[in-house]
Every structure is written in C-alpha cells, then in structure tokens.
Amino acid sequence: MLEHALPKIIKPLTYGTESLQFKVLSNALNKHVPQYGFNERALVQSLNELGLSSSYLSVLASSNSPSFFNVSPSVLELVKFHLVSRRKQLITNLPLGSDKPLPDLKTLFLERLRLNESIAPHLSQLLSIMSVPGEFLTSTALPELQQLTDDMIFYSNEQDHNDFAWYSKRIALSTAYVSSELFMAQDKSHNFVETMEFAESKLSKVSQLGNMYNNTEEYLWYTLLSSINLAKSQMTRG
C-alpha cells in the first residue's frame, strides 16, 4: 500500500491522534491514572466521561493477547500507550529542522523521568506489569525501552559509533533508566530531587563506563601494535 494512503498512525500503536482510541487513552492517562493507577477503573472512568460503553474496552484490547499471569489486555494497551506517547512527547519540542544545537543526553534523560511525575505513585505497579514474563515483556516492554534509549542517543548531541560501543552504550543507558525509574517509585522527596540526583550519578557512571571502554580499547590497540612492531624488529635482527 502507498505510504501516503495509510492513515496516520503512531507506530507501534495501531491508531493515530485523531482516533477514538487515542482520545480515550490520553484522557485516561492524563486525568484518571494519577488517581486510580494503571487499571480498568481508570479506563472506565474515561469511557464514562466520553459517553462510551464498556464494549470499548474490547476495542482497546484488540491488538493485545490475553495473558494468564498479567493484567487484562485493555490495561496492557494503556501501559503501551503510556510508553509510546511519553517517548514521542520527549522529541516533539526538539529543534530538528533548524540549525539550533540539540540538547545533551542528560537533559533528555531527566526530561523523560519528569514525564513520569504525574504517575509516580503508580510506577511500581507499572514496572511490575511490564516485567511479568510473557508476550508483553518481549513484544512491547523491552522493545520500547530499547527505542527510548535509542531515541535519547539519536536526538541528543551524543556521539554515536557504529561498532560494539553502539550496543554497550544502549545497554548501559537502559540499565540507568530502569534503575532511576525504580528509585523514583519509592521517592518521597519534593519535586523528585533525589531521583534526579540519583539519575545524574547513574548517567555519570555511564559516561565513566564509556571512558573505561575507550581507554581499554586504546590500550589494547597500543599493545597489539607494539607487539607487532616488537615481532617485526626481532625478525629484522634475524
């Protein structure tokens, strides 16, 4: 099918910003999730407000497979919507078209954590839904985490390398992000000051790791070249 003929959808969601699904979910996420958490209650409140019947929960749920160990498929869609919409929100205000410099990695990282502020009391619930072993973990939660760290690196002024460091950097950043979210779930400080401090220290460890990686690489190259040279010089001596 031609690209322009497709309705504008926000991948990996199957609907666009104009759709009814988007309205229901964003309304639930902004108004009712802060109060009720990630559950059907928040969704039903949103449906009642928009004058829709509970059959719409089935509509929301349709692209997810029910899992015996996890919450209902419509709540999984709410979690998916949270992950995707917040990730998109992070890059909407960036100066992508202009010559202005892109923000640094730390700014984007802390900005994404701030987007969790309204749902912070329910973060542990959110993280537990995402970490239940099953289809949702492998097809949504992990790919979204990988997408998020990839976006953070791509849309910041961070240098990227097309070698093994590409993977190391993303894995390190993902670990830092998940541990910061876990910290945030328990954080009671004003304006999440402690979370931000924690995140900054984690990030500096990531860059330390990067330095260590570079130094190790440089050392290994040096050792390799000098051993070759040593061998060569021994060979010329005969």
Binding site: L20, V44, N48, S53, S54, S55, L57, V59, A61, S62
Partner: protein
C-alpha cells in the same frame, strides 16, 4: 487428492442417501469444475463456491443448510475429533481476548450479537465470562443462525444447562448473516462470528451487514480457520485434512459434509486478504492474531 476421491466414491455407496441434493451435486462435480464456470462467462457472476465446487448462488445457502442440518447433533464430538480438542482452547482464548462485559462502574449494558452461533458455545461463553468476571447480569445476547436445526441444538443445550433458556436476555433467531433483516442498524456493541463466516455465500455482504448493525464504537470479532505460514506444518496439515472426511464418515456417518468443511477451509481467503475485506466494509484498526501457527485466526475491526 486422488486417493481421497476414490475412497469417497466407495463411501458414497456405503453411506445412506439421507441428503439427496448433496449427493446429486457430488456426482455433478465433473461438469461444475471452477474452470468450466469461468469459461461460461456471464454465468460466472451468479455462481459462488461450495467447497471446491462452483455452484449457483441460490444453491449454496441450501447446500450449507444441509451440511449443518446433518452435522448438528454430532457437532461437538466432531469438532473435538477434527481439532484434537484444540477448538475449546481457541474459543476460550477468543472469549478472554474479547474480555467483554459491563464493568461495575460503567453505566450501560452491552448488546451482543453472535452470528452463525447456533450451537451457542461462544454466546453462552461470553455471557458467563461477563457474569463471572464483572458480575454483569444485564447485557443482552442475540444468537443468530441461518439453520434452524443448529439453533435448536443451542436451545437444547441452554435448556440442559438450565441457563439462558427462556431468558429475556437471550434471544434465538433464524436469520441470514448476510442481511440480518430483523436486527436494527446501529443497535449492537459487539458482533461475534466464530467458524461461520466462511459458509456465507457472499462474505463481503456479511461484513457490510456487520458494519450496519454495529453502533459507532462497536467491535467486529471473528474466529475462523485460516492459512498456515510454515510450509512444513502446512504439508502435515494438508495430510490431516485428507483424513478428516474419512473420520466424518466413521463417527457421523457423513463423508460429504466433512469433505465440504475441509474444502471450504481451503477456499477461505488468507489473513491479509480477509483483513483487507474487513477494511473494505468500513472497519478501522483492523487486525488479526494467528492461533496454532495460523490454523485459526482471530480477526477484528472497529466501527468508528
């Protein structure tokens, strides 16, 4: 295929001639191959497929009716044998995935319609799910089937289990799924059809009617046999489907009906094709989920 045809001829002689019209068509198969129908030109528009045969559109409804009248009483046993019991898991998954029912803090009850649902297993399953999970005892259900015999089977089952029989919430109706002329437009929240839509004479007309009867915001949910994507498994599946009519003749003493079931599965469009048909009817956010490597698939679409 050849061996099946010959064994089929033998079994035709053995089995009783209860279903005359069907037998007549079996013998007329050579003249009615799809190739001939295409050559016939203008006749093509008025024909459709009945299994691997090409028949007149007016005939298909009658022929399908005969198949289901003949299998109605042994429907469940045969389903178990044919799918090795997996059809129960598929239906269970279907109901869980739909996860429908009036939620405790919701305001309006739901209106279901289960098309081609004569045996009632999906309809009763949906209502049970809604009651057990959400304490919903208000939502209504229309069980609709073109075949009065299948519908009686469902009513009998409701009577035996002592639920949903003479219940104002549940109505049984003999209706053609392509027209649903007694169902008002925009009156239903959830339209389900399980293992039924491939028997429609005109599948697209059935989908258009589904779109008509659903309210805006309603959902179309369909469980149907589909195409296997793995070539190796597909070979095994084809072998399995050659055995099915023989088992049909042993268990239900009815070779032809099961031969029809197998052929109609082969003729049904692939996942992507059927999805595009759902979209053509006007549904949005259409999609599908394969079950058991694509032996079966759940399709859905949303009326917005």
């Amino acid at each position: 295929m050849k061996s099946v045809v010959s064994s089929r001829a033998r079994l035709n002689l053995v089995s009783s001639a209860r279903f005359g019209a069907l037998r007549l068509f079996s013998t007329g198969r050579a003249q009615l191959s799809p190739k001939h129908a295409q050559n016939a030109g203008p006749v093509e528009d008025s024909t459709t497929h009945f299994g691997s045969k090409t028949v007149l559109k007016e005939e298909k409804e009658k022929l399908v009716g005969e198949v289901f009248s003949s299998v109605a009483s042994k429907y469940d046993v045969m389903n178990d044998v044919m799918s090795l019991g997996v059809h129960r898991l598929w239906k269970d998954h279907f109901i869980n995935k739909l996860d429908a029912g009036k939620r405790p803090n919701s305001t309006e009850p739901l209106h279901f319609i289960d098309v081609a649902g004569g045996s009632g297993d999906i309809a009763f399953g949906l209502l049970d799910h809604a009651e057990q999970k959400f304490h919903d005892v208000e939502s209504t259900m229309h069980v609709v089937d073109i075949n009065a015999d299948m519908l009686k089977e469902g009513e009998k089952r409701a009577m035996e289990q002592g639920r949903y029989y003479n219940d104002p919430r549940v109505k049984f109706l003999v209706q053609n799924g392509e027209t649903l002329d007694q169902i008002e437009s925009e009156s239903k929240d959830i339209y389900t059809v399980s293992f039924g839509i491939r028997n429609f004479t005109d599948v697209q007309a059935g989908l258009n009617t589904a779109y008509r009867v659903l309210k805006p915001g309603g959902i179309f949910f369909c469980l149907e046999f589909s195409k296997i994507d793995n070539p190796l498994l597909n070979v095994m599946y084809q072998k399995w489907s050659q055995v099915l009519p023989v088992m049909g003749s042993v268990i239900a003493n009815d070779y032809d009906s099961y031969q029809y079931l197998v052929e109609s599965i082969e003729r049904f469009p692939s996942q992507e094709h059927f999805k595009s048909m759902i979209e053509k009817a006007g549904f949005q956010s259409a999609g599908y989920e394969n079950l058991t490597f694509g032996v079966c698939a759940i399709h859905w679409g949303i009326k917005t």
